[in-house]
């Protein structure tokens, strides 16, 4: 006669198990204390503000800058080609330190803000630190 008396066997162990399950499952809820952090706002330098346009439109830069840099690296290191022409016909020097970081010289307030928020630690910066810049 299974289930005839609706009794929970080993009730203590079952309750402890369910409580542990709930604590683990709800980790993000209690970890953040219900406090939402505003989205990071990367700060533009004066130079970047004056230039107005980056290599690609802002939306694309936001999502695809890492792939662009990766293709630049391949192009420079493997083929020795250092010039990039964007869709508007503007030509750029393919260089992280002399190109990107020249305009966006504030790594801490520009790159790192989103990178930290998204927990990304690109190894580009292992070598390409802001200062001293690479020599031409």
């Amino acid at each position: 006669m299974p289930n005839n008396n609706n009794k929970i066997y080993d009730k203590n162990k079952i309750v402890i198990g369910i409580v542990i399950f709930l604590i683990i499952s709800l980790f993000p809820i209690w970890y953040n204390h219900f406090k939402n952090v505003p989205a990071p706002d990367p700060l533009l330098t004066e130079k970047a503000k004056i230039a107005k346009e980056c290599v690609l439109p802002k939306v694309l830069m936001k999502t695809e800058h890492m792939q662009l840099l990766n293709s630049w690296r391949d192009s420079v290191v493997r083929d020795g080609k250092r010039l990039y022409t964007n869709s508007q016909g503007k030509v750029f020097d393919m260089s992280l330190s002399n190109g990107c970081l020249d305009c966006h010289s504030n790594k801490k307030d520009f790159c790192d803000r989103c990178h930290n928020y998204a927990s990304v630690r690109p190894y580009c910066f292992d070598c390409h630190i802001d200062n001293p810049k690479e020599k031409k």
Binding site: F21, S25, N32, L69
Partner: protein, 333 residues
């Protein structure tokens, strides 16, 4: 062609299309980004708790531990402490090795007729290897996703990410766990297709979670390495969910909503499917009971409360008549 996997495949494709149409055509971003995740997560929590409590109501009529070694008996007979544990420490070790390393699956063998009709068992480790691969990489992938649910991101999580991307292939770095998860789920699917006996016993409920998990891993990998999505906006949405201040950023592409919707389906489907082996493994009487049948009496909780009339009571009732009839009695008064 097989109706079971075709059915599951079509359902998963339908779910993907549903999310696509819902977000891109109908613009129901708040439904797919906020309402459904909350509903699915609640279903998951309540469903799992309900299932476990329901299972706990089933009595275990007798000790049905499976034994993989000598039970503890006389002191000079060596007993298997883990395979046939006699105390709770042994049970804990046995459960841990079962849950973390799938110990009983490791003993998996393949039965085959060889050289005509010679019956033989052969060791078969592929299922164990890919099961370990699948479950552990799934766990790593799951834990990694907590970078989207925590601010600041805990140090241990960053360490795990660094380990996962150890080979620093490409930008963003390839996370090995994602690829291993795909490999694992692919093997688990292919064995159901190519091994005739397994194909015979496989039903839609076996294929559906595999296709679903494949879809989740695939869309995730697609988003990370190929089509790209605005990860900062994604984190705004996920953080909004866990801090109970839901927001729906406008800049997230539909592929994210497909991914999220499949995860929601997985969560909501979880408690009512074979996936509940997550909870079930803890409640397996063949694994979690000590093998102490010779030392401890286990009373069947099913036992019906039988009305008994002991001999003492019987004699009490009929003593005078028994003496009259000349029958022997225990107590003469």
């Amino acid at each position: 062609m097989n109706v079971h996997y075709m059915f599951s495949l079509i359902v998963v494709i339908g779910l993907v299309l549903l999310a696509y149409v819902g977000v891109e055509v109908l613009g129901l971003k708040a439904i797919f980004g906020v309402v459904l995740p909350y509903a699915a997560f609640l279903t998951f929590l309540i469903g799992v708790a309900y299932k476990v409590i329901d299972w706990a109501k089933s009595p275990v009529p007798f000790r049905i531990t499976t034994t993989g070694g000598q039970q503890k008996s006389l002191p000079w007979i060596k007993s298997a402490k883990i395979d046939n544990p006699d105390c709770s420490v042994g049970v804990v070790v046995r459960m841990l090795t079962e849950i973390l390393f799938f110990r009983s699956l490791f003993r998996n063998t393949k039965a085959e007729l060889k050289e005509g009709n010679k019956f033989s068992y052969e060791w078969e480790k592929w299922l164990w290897i890919f099961a370990i691969l699948f479950h552990w990489s799934f766990a790593v992938v799951l834990v990694r996703h907590f970078r989207l649910f925590t601010e600041p991101v805990p140090y241990l999580l960053q360490l795990l990410e660094n380990l996962d991307g150890f080979f620093q292939i490409g930008i963003p770095v390839v996370f090995l766990s994602g690829l291993l998860l795909l490999a694992g789920v692919t093997y688990l699917f292919l064995r159901r297709i190519f091994i005739p006996q397994i194909k015979y016993i496989s039903l839609a409920a076996d294929y559906f979670p595999l296709f679903l998990i494949f879809g989740i891993a695939f869309t995730g990998i697609l988003m990370r390495y190929f089509t790209k999505t605005d990860i900062v906006a994604v984190k705004q949405l996920t953080m909004g969910l866990v801090t109970l201040h839901p927001t729906v950023p406008a800049t997230i592409g539909f592929i994210f909503y497909v991914h999220l919707f499949l995860v929601c389906v997985l969560l909501a489907y979880f408690p009512f499917s074979k996936l509940m082996h997550l909870g079930g493994i803890f409640l397996s009487p063949t694994r979690n009971l000590p093998g102490n049948t010779r030392a401890v009496r286990h009373i069947n909780p099913w036992n019906y409360p039988v009305k008994v009339h002991t001999y003492d009571e019987y004699e009490e009732e009929f003593r005078e008549k028994m003496i009259e009839a000349g029958l022997p009695v225990e107590k003469e008064e």
